[in-house]
């Protein structure tokens, strides 16, 4: 396989095509515009369809409709755009339809700033929209991981009939890095959509249709129990993380996404200075990788450094849950729009040791 020096947004767009995406609808917003720009040309080369919708809301509803016919579909946007798409995502989740959603997030609230940011943690991992549903949420730290996760997102979406949500930001979206792109997936190898795709009426008047309206509590209970069981299955089978230099770590850092790669630089620098640091880097944000934190030696470790580009911090609450509140939680955080510096992480760790 050949390697390419490619921009994060373009790598995700190409990985989507190779992962089987044949429909994209979206509405422009920085810092994700390279995704629709790339797909506006690329999708037609593979017989797919690209639509620049008249709005975010129209775009997500097109994805809802097209995905319901069994075509692998995707949309992308940035934080305030995702707010507009949230109702549509709720309907996709409620209808148990696969789709892929990329958020190249900004700082917030409101229009915020377009530079790297992690202010959308709760809005992505906890409550995309009302109704208590979750998406399968992943967050890449490198352009390679971004491409690999988008590629696989279509498989996960089909397997569990769920929206898969890729949370990233302007750091990963706008940087270029050397990447080995995944191969074009053979349609023969993709999961059949027969089980869930809408159909016309058969001779016996049966048809598969969707309805997200559940007029009674009893009906809704059935759906909600199925939803709860699905999330339990993810917790059991799908937790993903990277443990970096954790074997002999005496100082533990944790961070995800773009802050995750910067924390990794800090771990290397701390090691170079003789401090045995390690990093737990969640890759799935939902299911949250609780298992990663079970391996911490709680007899020796009494604190954890939580790095995130969000003020106030958000990710730290999941870390506290995963570690059962057994540690001191030291936040190293910058506001969305301000990229956390390796040096400031190193200084804060040394100061607090």
């Amino acid at each position: 396989m050949s390697k390419e020096f490619i921009k994060g947004n373009e790598a995700m767009a190409e990985a989507a095509v190779r992962g089987g995406c044949r429909f994209f609808a979206g509405y422009p917003i920085t810092p994700q515009n390279d995704i629709p720009e790339y797909l506006s040309k690329r999708l037609f080369e593979v017989g797919g369809t690209f639509i620049q919708g008249e709005s975010e809301i129209a775009s997500i509803n097109m994805v809802y409709g097209v995905a319901a016919t069994g075509v692998r579909s995707m949309t992308s946007s940035s934080s305030p755009g995702l707010a507009l798409k949230s109702e549509g995502i709720s309907f996709i989740a409620g209808s148990r339809i696969p789709a892929v959603i990329i958020n190249v997030a900004r700082g917030g609230p409101a229009l915020g700033t377009i530079q790297g940011a992690q202010q959308d943690y709760f809005a992505s991992a906890k409550a995309i929209a009302p109704g208590g549903f979750r998406c399968f949420v992943v967050s890449p730290s490198t352009v390679q991981e971004a491409a690999d996760l988008v590629y696989e997102a279509f498989e996960i979406a089909d397997k569990y009939r769920t929206p898969v949500y890729v949370l990233t930001d302007g750091v990963i979206g706008n940087m270029m890095e050397i990447v080995e792109l995944p191969p074009m997936r053979d349609p023969e190898e993709m999961l059949s959509s027969d089980a869930w795709r809408i159909t016309k009426y058969n001779d016996d008047s049966s048809a598969r249709q969707f309805s997200t309206y559940r007029p009674t509590g009893e009906m809704l209970t059935v759906d909600n129990i199925a939803m709860a069981e699905l999330y339990e299955e993810w917790q059991e089978k799908e937790q993903r993380w990277e443990a970096f230099m954790m074997e002999d770590a005496e100082v533990v850092l944790t961070a995800y996404g773009s802050a995750g790669r910067i924390a990794k630089s800090a771990v290397k620098e701390l090691r170079a200075q003789g401090i045995k640091a390690g990093l737990i880097r969640p890759i799935t944000l939902f299911p949250f990788p609780n298992k990663a934190y079970e391996n911490i030696n709680y007899d020796k470790i009494d604190k954890i450094f939580v790095v995130e580009m969000s003020i106030p911090p958000q990710f730290v609450y999941d870390v506290e849950l995963a570690t059962k509140s057994q540690l001191d939680y030291i936040n190293i955080n910058t506001s969305g729009g301000v990229i956390v510096e390796t040096e400031s992480i190193v200084d804060k760790v040394k100061e607090s040791m």
Binding site: T113, I114, I178, R261, K264, E341, T342
Partner: protein, 178 residues
């Protein structure tokens, strides 16, 4: 080995282009590289900058507070970034447009009149390729052959442009020779 470089200048000086070309060259050399552009509220005629990191291992942060190298293509960029140099770092100063001098004795400065050299070769447009050559010559971070191969691929579609850009690269290498 991990080396950080910040390239800064006016929008239109081809800052981003040489940053990307370094990434392509690192890729050819079998190394790792990141290219991170400043983006957002930049104005025409204002400063543009990008950070390139080249390493033989995995790269963490794509930006760096302390720099191994700086290419300053204009005066405002020089003033803004020159204090971020590491000890022993390398600054390539486009002395056609930058009047200031490096005061830190622990930093190696190379004064390359990139616009004048480019003009002498026939086009001020290739000043960025001159400093690219100077950077490779001064730091040896990559084999010049990989960088020249990328310059040829990216800028050498027409034979006369190929020759001009190759000469510009060599002029930059020559300018930093001891």
């Amino acid at each position: 080995m991990e080396k950080s470089l910040l390239i800064a200048g006016f929008g239109g000086q081809g800052i981003m282009l040489i940053g990307k070309m370094l990434g392509f060259a690192a890729s050819k050399a079998g190394m790792n590289a990141t290219f991170y552009p400043s983006y957002g509220a930049e104005q025409r005629g204002g400063t543009a900058n990008c950070t390139v990191i080249i390493a033989d291992d995995e790269i963490g942060s794509p930006v760096s507070k302390k720099l191994d190298s700086l290419i300053a293509m204009n005066e405002p960029s020089f003033v803004r970034f020159v204090d971020r140099m590491k000890k022993g770092g390398v600054v390539i100063v486009n002395s056609s447009l930058v009047q200031s001098k490096v005061e830190d004795k622990d930093v190696q400065a190379f004064y390359v009149p990139a616009n004048d050299l480019a003009q002498q070769l026939g086009s001020a447009q290739v000043a960025n390729v001159v400093v690219l050559g100077a950077y490779i010559g001064a730091t040896g971070v990559l084999d010049a052959a990989f960088a020249k191969q990328v310059v040829a691929e990216q800028l050498g579609k027409k034979p006369e442009l190929l020759e001009l850009n190759m000469k510009a690269f060599d002029a930059g290498m020559e300018a930093v020779k001891p």
